[in-house]
């Protein structure tokens, strides 16, 4: 039984640990910190963060394309964007340090991460786009559906 190799630094080498156990506790501290930020933001909801960063582009085809490409900063409240980004940060450290992705071969890492990320992004794009469209159908000026009765 050979010794298992662990990469003992996180944040691109900014934080180095002496042993694997120490790294685990370090990651726990970081994850708890991120969750605490989320909870505090979720309770106080600062007014500054309650609006999107940009307003939608007006115009033709390229405006629509721009709205799709920049949809996270155009249609999403800044607070929600921060929540999602922090969630992805947490997911990264759970996968990389708790699931030892950091110590796996690059090919295994890419096989899992690229496949998942690609398919999930695709699915989310399709379903959210469609959900927004159905909303328009329900609530447009020429809508034939009445729900307020």
């Amino acid at each position: 039984m050979a010794a298992h190799e662990h990469k003992l630094e996180i944040f691109r080498g900014l934080w180095k640990f002496k042993s694997n156990q120490q790294k685990i506790w370090g990651v726990l501290v970081f994850l708890t910190f991120v969750t605490a930020i989320e909870v505090i933001l979720g309770i106080y909801k600062p007014d500054v963060l309650m609006t999107p960063l940009m307003s939608p582009f007006e115009g033709g085809f390229f405006a629509t394309l721009g709205n799709i490409l920049f949809s996270p900063v155009i249609y999403m409240k800044l607070l929600n964007l921060i929540f999602i980004l922090l969630t992805i940060v947490k997911a990264y450290y759970i996968t990389w340090d708790f699931m030892h992705m950091r110590d796996e071969k690059g090919s295994l890492r890419k096989m899992v991460v690229w496949t998942g990320v690609f398919l999930i992004c695709y699915l989310i794009f399709i379903l959210l786009q469609e959900g927004g469209y159905v909303f328009e159908v329900y609530n447009g000026d020429d809508s034939l559906i009445k729900r307020d009765f």
Binding site: M1, V112, I120
Partner: protein
Amino acid sequence: MDSTVASTGTEGKTWGGGNRPLGASYGKLMMWFFIVSDALTFSGFLAAYGFSRFKFIESWPIADEVFTHVPFLHGQELPMIYVAFMTFILIMSSVTMVLAVDAGHHMNKSKVTLYLFLTIIGGAIFVGSQAWEWATFINGDYGAVQTKGGNILQFGEYVTEDGKEKFKRISIDDFAMTVEGQRVEHERKNGLWFVDEAPLPEYSVSEIYNGLAANENILVRTQTIDENGQKTVLSREESLKQVKDNGQLVVKGANLIVNEYGTSLFADFFFFITGFHGFHVFSGVVINIIIFFNVILGTYERRGSYEMVEKVGLYWHFVDLVWVFVFTFFYLV
């Protein structure tokens, strides 16, 4: 570093199962494949939740107003606190799991046993917390009236707290007025002997209406979200008119058919997604218990490798990973 259990006699050969390009054992690789497919299942659910939410973006319930309860702190509105506690428990049990894996690498049987035990305890606390969360959600707190169109009308009044005027919810129990001569639940012994009826709601719409008419301060709140991100509160006349004309059913709590907090889809997705996740946690606990006994019996000690702990650990961390996303999309965003 040969951590596979069985040796196939084909090591080093290009064909026949030797020569591992990904540098991971068969079991670990299969666990990763499973995790990828399970991640796609969960993202399918969460994306479907997003679809339905976008479809009803103007009337979706506000999670902070739904999940406000903390055990032993009755009557206080504390959004986020309990679910943050659950998240911390799950992350903590992930930590003990990864410590168990680490102890396994050092072939330290007693430490693996201890950490696995702590992991099981953490998982059990989480499942229990989720059961409590479900029970609270199902029982409901304020009650509401459902309209013919399936919309929800909630009740409350404006109060001034710390110099700020805010809308405070009022429970239907506090103002509903009992009307004599209401219909009673049909039972086999007093009607058709071959027909059952589901229990009637605690109050009828006319009882709620009478209570509303008698209390000048109470207003109706619809599920429509205004430009400030708050639910719309109707005027006194509108309130009475809505309940009288459109009210159909008094609902308290939530199930798969009705939901006092807003659109019933919200409750459906809540039960389905957290239920599916809770089922994963539950099976994770069961698998953990199985390998816990294997560790005690010395199975992995004799095998010369604690890789099984590592594989189950991967599953356990994945469950934690999913929760991080469920937490964000159900409680935060």
